[in-house]
């Protein structure tokens, strides 16, 4: 297997982008990534794109070809493949691109992710996202995604005594970080009271415990490490990759409070990278809900089960803390265009490791990403390092 580096990154601003269509979004992100890598389109060998549900959000399937076409690459007949794993589609798109380069099959590969969520009403969005769970046996019972994560939170608070304020601090910290990220959907700091006084969505989760509905796209370009310096002075190496599956339904998990696919994907990425938890400077985790960040910190092995609330309360997950989590603002403040999120995490990680994350910079050599599909049925982790 060849060593692989990220040589260029691009990301649209995240938000309710009424002026942008599905295809505008990925063209914008792709152009930014190409410009960053100083590449022209004909140098690209292959494209992967993560997308959860264009079929229901914009009634468009066959996304790979559409992207190749509107990115001006269909004339060169470049292969383009859509990858889907619900909210982990972006992370999986990156993994596929990484595999393509590492195997020697392709040299210059784009990993993109895109989701256009605001062209349908909120009720339809709720239903589309519910498709990431088990339709036949969870959907029929009246689940919503906040409801599923709320059931994790209920059990977690009961078992470990997590305080409501500790959960709210996750959102406060992520809004603080988002305020410093020019691409973030929400750039306003909030207080504990903002979270604690917001509308209940699914007890115990309130509106400010939930990531928003977002439009956006991100794209990164991968190349064999040995060729990376042709394109950039600051290649970022992929040190480790891990993917794992678990049961599609939350009720079938061995432990409701543990995403066992996070444990497995994290361990695989660490093993491959040959680094320790203490070597990691920051992690972009999948905080679709505040409780998800608490579980992620523990399941990735950064503290014992039941301790992430205290870690968060003490400020150890903030920038400058012992293990900064979600310097981008995470899904909570940066926004969560489901198919794009996993690639945005890579974008943020590369920016950080290059030293380009103005205002939210963490001084470190190694960063990590963690992208979850559904309630943890798919998890994709990557570890990156400076060269």
């Amino acid at each position: 297997m060849r060593e692989v580096a990220v040589i260029g990154v691009g990301c649209t601003k995240f938000g309710e982008k009424w002026e942008s269509s599905f295809r505008n979004l990925f063209v914008e992100a792709g152009a930014l990534a190409l410009e960053d890598a100083n590449l022209s389109g004909e140098q690209i060998d292959e494209i992967f794109v993560g997308n959860m549900s264009a079929g229901r959000f914009v009634e468009q399937e066959h996304i790979g070809a559409l992207i190749a076409d509107y990115a001006g690459l269909a004339t060169d007949n470049i292969p383009a493949t859509r990858v889907e794993a619900a909210c982990a589609s972006g992370g999986l798109s990156f993994r596929q691109a990484y595999t393509a380069v590492a195997s020697g099959m392709s040299d210059i590969v784009v990993a993109a992710g895109v989701e256009k969520m605001t062209d349908v009403g909120t009720e339809v969005t709720t239903d589309v996202l519910a498709a990431a769970a088990d339709r036949e046996w969870e959907g029929i019972a009246g689940i919503t995604f906040p409801g599923l994560y709320a059931m994790i939170a209920t059990e977690y608070m009961h078992r470990y005594g997590l305080k409501r304020e500790q959960l709210a601090q996750v959102a406060v910290k992520n809004h603080d970080n988002g305020a410093k990220n020019p691409n973030a959907q929400f750039r306003k700091p909030i207080t504990l009271d903002t979270v604690l006084n917001s509308t209940l969505v699914a007890d115990p989760l309130r509106l400010f415990d939930c990531s928003p509905v977002t439009d956006g796209a991100a794209a990164v370009i991968l190349a064999p490490l040995e060729r990376a310096r042709e394109f950039t002075d600051t290649p970022i190496k992929v040190l480790g990759a891990g993917q794992a599956s678990s049961t599609i339904a939350l009720h079938d998990r061995k432990d409701i409070c543990t995403l066992d696919a996070t444990v497995a994907a994290g361990n695989r990425a660490f093993q491959m990278a040959g680094v320790e938890r203490k070597d990691i400077g920051f992690v972009e985790v999948h905080d679709c809900f505040t409780i998800a960040e608490i579980c992620a910190i523990e399941d990735l092995g950064f503290c014992k089960k039941g301790e992430a609330g205290k870690l968060t309360e003490e400020g150890q997950t903030a920038i400058g803390g012992k293990i900064p989590i979600n310097p981008s603002g995470g899904l909570k403040a940066c926004g969560h265009p489901v198919g794009a999120t996993g690639v945005k995490q890579v974008y943020e990680t590369v920016k950080q490791l290059r030293g380009d994350a103005k205002g939210r910079q963490i001084d470190t050599e190694i960063g990590m990403t963690h992208n979850v599909g559904g309630t943890g049925a798919t998890v994709v982790c990557h570890i990156f390092g400076r060269v």
Binding site: V120, G121, E123, V124, T126, D127, A130, D134, R135, E136, W137, E138, G139, I140, A141, G142, I143, T144, P146, G147, A150, M151, I152, A153, T154, E155, H158, T199, L200, V201, A202, D203, P204, L205, A249, L250, H251, D252, I256
Partner: protein
Amino acid sequence: MVPEPPLSVISLGGYKMSVARFWRKQQNRYNLIGTRCTTCGKYFYPPRGFCPDCRREGNIVDHQFKGTGKVVTYSIIRSSSGNFKLLTPYVLAIIELDEGTRLTSHLVCDIDQVYIGMPVRRVFRKLGEDGSSGAIFYGTKFVPA
């Protein structure tokens, strides 16, 4: 706007399915019939046609569940879609049946009544309807025991 589903389509929550798709699982949904692996003795509801532990050595047969169990965890859903929108706020729960398997269900009770470990039993309930003139469909829900 998503167009109104035709009459041949059942809508459950925001969940739209054809009559055949519902009919296929009717016995399971009406009567809480799941499956059991005779090799390892493990019970499955929702039903599985393949034992994840024994795999090819497994032998799956139908099993009628007693219909009693307890609440593992729950949430009160304040915002939902489709047929469930009218029920808000409602209790959603993961229930462990006495036989050991777990399922997700709407728990028909007062929202202040539910707690972890609460004993529950199954009831036959209307799940929803396909508009005012379409099919009405039924299945299993749970109530405090």
